[in-house]
Symmetry: C2
Subunit: 404 residues, 2 copies
């Protein structure tokens, strides 16, 4: 498997584009993105668990009931959520895209991201859809990645190439959002495309299995968005024998998918609102995987630990505390903690109690941009990884007055 360029257009038969149509006031920010497959693709999606769901999610869910889709349309700047006529608007947006592309409306994945509770004006989208379509190209992955950004500071895309049944396949994706985990603005969105042939059922299984270890293990601020959505379109143009059951081929596809999703997870966490550092928490030795996940997420979600990481302060007591209140069944007297980065690693806690360590060395390690928090529990073989970021002045600044 190798990493290639092209993002969401790397797979055969996919083109994309992004434009500024006028939903966002700032004309230098793209606010409308389109991804198109030249043939109908098998499609799967997962959605936020928030009871308050963005209207586009409801429409997309209905469209994907048959496991098929051919295009993705997504605007930024407005979430189309908590609006009385949201579903109607999402359907109209979907119909506009379908009409421009000459495909069925129920082959459209529709998504929106931005402020909650403000009516989404369709006029800019109506005006933007033709130039958006006209500009579809194999080089359009970047523009599409930009079109879905809100508070993101970098565009997030990746693609990989791999072999399936003697055929070269590609899988690529773009993402937006500084967490899974931004209710009013960021709202994580991920669009993945592949030319691998895989049945709708197996595609759904691959996605559901993967997100449990990837996107569901990312946290920026603990706020689960109303508009989170991850979709994957598989158009089969690489002509590998269609994957219809578990086995070696499915495992290969899963591995490629996981390479794409873990990369995007790390990008999302590292670009968390206001973040200066990516935190990767690796938990091992837990009773089981579920316990390891609970512990890893609790650590990564602790505001106090996040603030300590911003200050490059090896305040490991906050890690013990977060393990203790996580609700996980852990023998806290058998916990080991160390910090690791490009500058080396340092152990700070053994058997649940502090040990002597060099504060200078710890500071040097924690001043890096990517920090591993390594936690070992003495209860079994469960392990898990979670991704997060530090809590900074800029997080407060960005969210103190997002709407204006």
């Amino acid at each position: 498997m190798k990493i290639i360029s092209g993002g969401v257009c790397a797979a055969k038969g996919f083109t994309a584009n992004g434009v500024h149509c006028g939903i966002r006031k700032n004309r230098t920010k793209k606010d409308l993105a389109l991804i198109f497959s030249e043939v109908q693709a098998n499609a799967a999606a997962v959605y936020t668990t928030n009871l308050v769901k963005g209207a586009p999610l409801l429409v997309t869910k209905a469209h994907l009931e048959n496991g098929k889709a051919q295009a993705v349309i997504c605007n930024s700047g407005n979430a189309n959520t908590c609006n009385a006529d949201g579903v109607e608007i999402a359907e109209k947006m979907s119909a506009m895209a379908a009409s421009a592309l000459g495909i069925a409306a129920d082959d459209i994945v529709v998504a929106s991201t931005g402020v909650i509770g403000q009516p989404l004006n369709l006029e800019p989208i109506a005006a933007g859809i033709e130039p958006l379509k006209a500009g579809l190209s194999k080089d359009g992955g970047d523009a599409a990645a930009e079109g879905i950004m809100t508070t993101d500071t970098v565009k997030k895309e990746i693609a990989v190439e791999f072999e399936l049944g003697g055929k070269t396949c590609r899988i690529g994706g773009i993402a937006k959002g500084s967490g899974m985990i931004h209710p009013n603005m960021a709202t994580m969105l991920v669009f993945i495309t592949t030319d691998a042939a895989i049945s709708p059922d197996m595609l759904k299984k691959a996605l559901s299995t993967d997100i449990a270890d990837t996107f569901n293990m990312v946290s920026v601020d603990g706020d689960t968005s109303t508009n989170d959505m991850v979709t994957v379109l598989a158009n089969g143009l690489s002509e590998n024998p269609e994957i219809t059951h578990e086995g070696e081929q499915f495992a290969t596809f899963m591995k490629a998918l996981n390479t794409v999703t873990v990369y995007l997870c790390r990008m999302i966490a590292g670009d968390g609102e206001g973040a200066t550092k990516l935190l990767e928490c690796k938990v091992s030795g837990a009773k089981d995987t579920a316990t390891a996940k609970t512990v890893a997420k609790s650590i990564i979600c602790s505001s106090l630990l996040k603030a300590a990481m911003f200050g490059a302060d090896a305040n490991w007591g906050r890690i013990l505390c977060a393990i203790g209140y996580s609700g996980a069944d852990v023998d806290v007297s058998k916990v080991f903690v160390s910090f690791k980065s490009a500058k080396g690693s340092i152990a700070v806690c053994e058997n649940g109690a502090g040990i002597d360590f060099s504060e200078e060395k710890a500071k040097e390690i924690l001043l890096e941009k990517e920090i591993e928090i390594i936690v070992s529990v003495g209860d079994g073989n469960g392990d898990a990884t979670a991704w997060g970021c530090d809590l900074t002045y800029d997080y407060v600044k960005i969210n103190g007055d997002y709407r204006t």
Copy 2:
């Protein structure tokens, strides 16, 4: 019932004091507090649910097994938590206080608050205990309240006077902590004293019932401390007929206790680390009380809403989002939201969707120091109140480098 002065010394037979003994480097900060009842009192306590528990909590729990206590000793600056010999140290600290006061060691409530995972040096306490005891007085409530502060910016105390069985009773309390909810430093501690006569069982019942609606409904940052503890000592010196069962007398006691605890809750939330505002979230119309509590706490814990309140931004979509991911069974299409403060009130959401409102008026309301977030759900008669604070630059500053 009327509010009186004296705090933890307002009740008959209680004296207190606070000194600087040297655990904290800053000599202007008191770091050791003592509360003493001239007779043995009935006592009850509740403790953190964190699996990682401060050593003093384990010792106090053992001491209170017989439902009796006569004094409280508490240091700030060091939590005596995650230390290999923590329990031994807490027992020695307890024994020192008992010896100075001439009472049994198991009549001591011992508590510590401060950094986790650093050995607690007993020398300053050994040196400070005699002056601490010598200075015990009816005017010492203030000094004791100061002795337990860490990152608190104001001391937190209150007392009320009320009638029980024809006798005048008093109940007072002091608290520290900017939440229930500060693992490494603040760690909420509350010490309540009363001269009412009430049996150990009923005292325990009163406390457990009360904290479910008071301290357990406070959040500053979602981090449940390892050292949280609320204790109440009732020495019976007001000579009311001892309360031994539920009924009018118990209800009167509960009401007085609740006045004290709600006041302290509001003080703790309003003095949350870095906070500029107290947030009080009132939820009504939920299916039941448990649902209302879940909703109120989810709202008060949302980092995004907390940041919006700091910016006086009426970003109600974040409230809907927090309701949606709370896990509570709520019909989100029937949610009403309004903001209220000394400057008036304003409705911002009806039936789960936005309504037109004056942003200027909303800003004026939200610029106040105490904000009510009023949420009405259309599912039943359950209501609840939760207290929190805004998320500010200073929270990040305080916690980015707490240990140095």
